[in-house]
């Protein structure tokens, strides 16, 4: 499937270039893995070797676990991708390509096909390796491929072609029709049909309208929007211009981006400036009667601002408190005017839908969730990163094929957390759930904006539920009582349970409170806050009961419940626990079972975390 999309996207960039190209992944994930120093080193090496090459920083191709990534494209050859590149491997890689006319097999991950280029023998194609097999890249197809700072790179991969098409040959109604046909639904997690939303805003009375991009990606464990903003910022801008055209010539748009994403904001601002210079933004765009401009509004750290009405309040300089709907933003939004609010990924899809057609987009996905969805795949799995799959792909395929399975071979899968603080945990029995809006809800979680955190048996379900509740409790804006007080009481109960002070009846009380908070909260934050607790009680009741009745934490996470005893049968006498003990309480001799002296043990958990066999409980 990926082949089709890749060929379709035609990597003209390399074709155009007669020079060799060195790409380096420089999104936040790359930078956090040392890409900046590596980039400097590449420039130095290139200069000292006197090479005529182009060095191009790119966004994230999704293989965050392999960062820093460096790709080399020699003229007439496929692009070769290298993982975890370090200074000493870099020299070997450059030697192979520039001195020996081959590739450095030891460090290569795959080769990315370049149309008309010669493949390398003995190296799998991108679409053949497990991480990419089964992925379909539409919204993320340019991420990691182009220089996000170059508007020409974007244009070379069909950028602003949708805008030209719309301005030269389509009416706003036709644009909305195409988006409706595509079946696209809000990718921020709400799942509201985008075409319907646009139509509502279009029909709202008044000449003054606004387009708002929700880039306040706050769910912990989710970074799909960051990847798109850092890797392909123009796609979001183009989507907003198309929205402005469709809803009735809106003149002004805002991108509300969270302050935790400084790099995304920087790249967006550069993209906006470049788009203005080429008249994709500004007055009479490309000679048409559409005039539209954009402004970035930086958030100031409040999760609730991802909720659309709270976002609008914040955008207008107020405390980010949600308001009851109706009125919906389509009727009364920014400055009281009709406004359309879409998530980053939703907007970045629009250009592709206009070019490929609504029917083409709808040919991917499941019955009620059309197209593709990006997911941030993290936690205790091998391949962590950003993926894009057709909606309805089974969870098992995402975790075990694309994700490569569990990171620790001996510790099995326990659950996947989907949908962040508003979502829930899906256990082993739910691994065959097709991941789309409806099926994930039946399984007790939500698809949400796309965060998937995989947990193994060494994770504690009660601790996870407590983590999310603490998060929502912190972030509750305090406006309505069920959310403000209810979440606090639930958190107190969960904290007691993890401290070994759980009582009979706690679970019933948690469920009762959950139901009350869900049905009486003002906005989505409160309404979904109990979900992580409800879904874990549904699937992992025994684990809660182990904490409450047996004062035992099966995942050995809750500090107060760990006994610091070595189980003889499980101890492999490997001795890993001994050197990590800061108080010298662990004694171990080669071939002997380790022993912990509880009189000196300071209960720091270093030995528990060091033991790969979970023999210390």
């Amino acid at each position: 499937m990926l082949t089709e999309v890749l060929e379709d996207s035609s990597l003209q960039l390399e074709e155009r270039s007669s020079l060799p190209v060195i790409h380096i992944g420089m999104a936040t994930c790359g930078l956090a893995s040392g890409a900046k120093a590596l980039h400097e080193l590449i420039l130095k090496e290139v200069a000292s070797r006197n090479l005529a090459v182009k060095v191009v920083p790119t966004g994230c191709i999704g293989m965050c676990h392999n960062e820093p990534l460096v790709d080399i494209t020699m003229p007439g050859k496929n692009r070769v991708s290298y993982r975890n590149v370090k200074p000493n491997t870099l020299t070997q890689i450059l030697d192979a390509h520039f001195n020996k006319n081959e590739f450095a097999k030891k460090y290569a991950v795959c080769q990315i096909p370049v149309p008309g280029a010669e493949p390398f023998a003995g190296l799998p194609l991108m679409q053949e390796i497990p991480f990419f097999k089964g992925q379909v890249k539409i919204v993320s197809k340019r991420c990691g491929m182009i220089d996000p700072l170059s508007i020409d790179d974007y244009i070379a991969m069909d950028g602003y072609a949708a805008l030209r098409k719309v301005l030269s040959s389509m009416t706003p109604e036709q644009v909305i029709d195409e988006v409706t046909k595509s079946g696209l639904r809000g990718r921020g997690g709400g799942g509201f049909p985008t075409g319907v939303k646009w139509n509502l805003t279009r029909k709202a009375p008044g000449p003054e309208k606004y387009v708002v991009c929700n880039a306040d990606e706050g769910d912990p464990g989710a970074f799909m929007d960051r990847s798109v903003l850092e890797g392909d910022p123009h796609s979001v801008i183009e989507g907003m211009i198309l929205a402005a055209f469709a809803v009735g010539h809106a003149r002004k748009g805002y991108i509300y981006c969270r302050a935790e994403y400084p790099l995304a904001i920087k790249r967006l601002q550069k993209a906006i400036n470049d788009a203005r210079e080429r008249n994709f933004l500004g007055d009479n765009i490309l000679g048409s009667d559409l005039s539209f401009d954009l402004e970035i509004k930086e958030g100031a750290g409040a999760y609730v601002c991802g909720e659309e009405t709270a976002l609008l309040a914040s955008l207008m300089g107020e405390r980010g408190m949600p308001w009851p709907k109706p009125p919906f933003p389509a009727q009364k939004g920014v400055w009281g005017k009709p406004s359309v609010i879409n998530n980053v990924e939703t907007l970045a899809n629009i250009g592709h839908i206009i070019l490929g057609g609504g029917e083409w987009y709808a040919s991917y996905g499941s019955e009620k969730t059309k197209g593709t969805k990006t997911f941030a795949l993290t936690g205790s799995i091998k391949n962590t990163g950003l993926i894009e799959v057709p909606a309805g792909t089974p969870l098992r395929e995402i975790v075990f094929s694309i994700g490569g399975g569990m990171v620790e071979k001996k510790i099995p899968f326990k659950a996947a957390q989907l949908g962040g603080p508003s979502g829930g945990c899906i256990p082993t029995s739910g691994l065959d759930t097709p991941v789309d809006f409806e099926n994930v809800v039946s399984a007790g979680a939500i698809m949400g904006s796309g965060g998937i955190v995989v947990m193994d048996e060494a994770a504690c379900i009660v601790d996870t539920a407590k983590f999310f509740l603490k998060f929502t409790q912190d972030e509750s804006c305090g406006e309505c009582t069920p959310c403000r007080v209810g979440s606090k009481i639930m958190l107190d109960i969960l904290t007691r349970i993890t401290e070994g002070k759980g009582q009979e009846g706690d679970l019933d009380e948690l469920v009762r409170l959950s139901m009350y908070i869900k049905s009486n909260s003002l906005c989505g934050l409160g309404g979904a806050a109990p979900n992580p607790v409800l879904s874990t009680i549904r699937y992992f009741r025994e684990e809660y009961e182990a904490h409450i009745r047996d004062k035992r934490c099966p995942g050995t996470v809750c500090n107060d419940l760990i006994k610091y005893v070595v189980i003889e049968e499980d101890c492999t006498t490997c001795g890993l626990c001994e050197p990590v003990c800061p108080s010298g309480s662990v004694t171990w001799e080669k071939g002997e079972v380790a022993h912990i002296d509880l009189t000196t043990c300071i209960r720091c958990k270093a030995c528990v975390d060091a033991c790969k066999f979970r023999a210390i409980i």
Binding site: S33, E217, A222, E260, A300, Y303, M316, T378, T384
Partner: protein, 168 residues
């Protein structure tokens, strides 16, 4: 926590800021962001001056200021150690990083070291979950951290500060 001296607010700066933003709607958040950019926090004096200049009630200024977690009312250290405590970092040991900093620098979350060099600030998800646990210091991201690597980072920042303050 050490008692830190508040700085003197530059009246001209505030007035210029008000002239730039004052006639536009809904710019309180942006004004506060600009003040924080300059001073590293929002001094109470600055808040009062703006309120008076733009005729915005004090209650509203404080309401906005205290709503958002990224506005600070106290001066902060030169290096703010933003340790991500999002889900992926949490399950991969972000708590151990926070503990290590607390132990090493003898400060609690939100506090500064006495020499005003460091501030410990656990933050919500920084969006580099694939490299959990991670931290960010002055917009530079550090991935795949461990308590020992965290310690190394603190030492590196200390020596960076020393070499910067040495006379040339």
């Amino acid at each position: 926590m050490s008692q830190t001296k508040h700085i003197e607010v530059d009246q001209d700066f505030i007035e210029n800021l008000c002239d730039e933003f004052g006639n536009r709607e809904g710019t309180v958040v942006q004004i506060l962001q600009r003040i924080q950019e300059k001073y590293g926090y929002v001094p109470a004096d600055a808040l009062d001056m703006i309120g008076e200049y733009l005729e915005i009630p004090k209650s509203k200024m404080y309401g906005v200021l205290t709503f958002y977690s990224q506005f600070y009312r106290e001066p902060r250290g030169k290096y703010v150690l933003k340790i991500c405590v999002g889900t992926a970092c949490h399950v991969r040991g972000a708590g151990l990083l926070v503990d290590k900093v607390k132990e090493e620098l003898k400060i609690e979350p939100g506090e500064n070291t006495e020499d005003m060099l460091f501030t410990l600030e656990p933050v919500s998800c920084l969006g580099s979950c694939a490299l959990a646990p991670m931290a960010m210091v002055t917009d530079t991201a550090y991935g795949k951290l461990s308590p020992d690597k965290m310690l190394g980072l603190i030492k590196d920042l200390e020596s960076e500060h020393l070499s910067a303050s040495e006379p040339a």
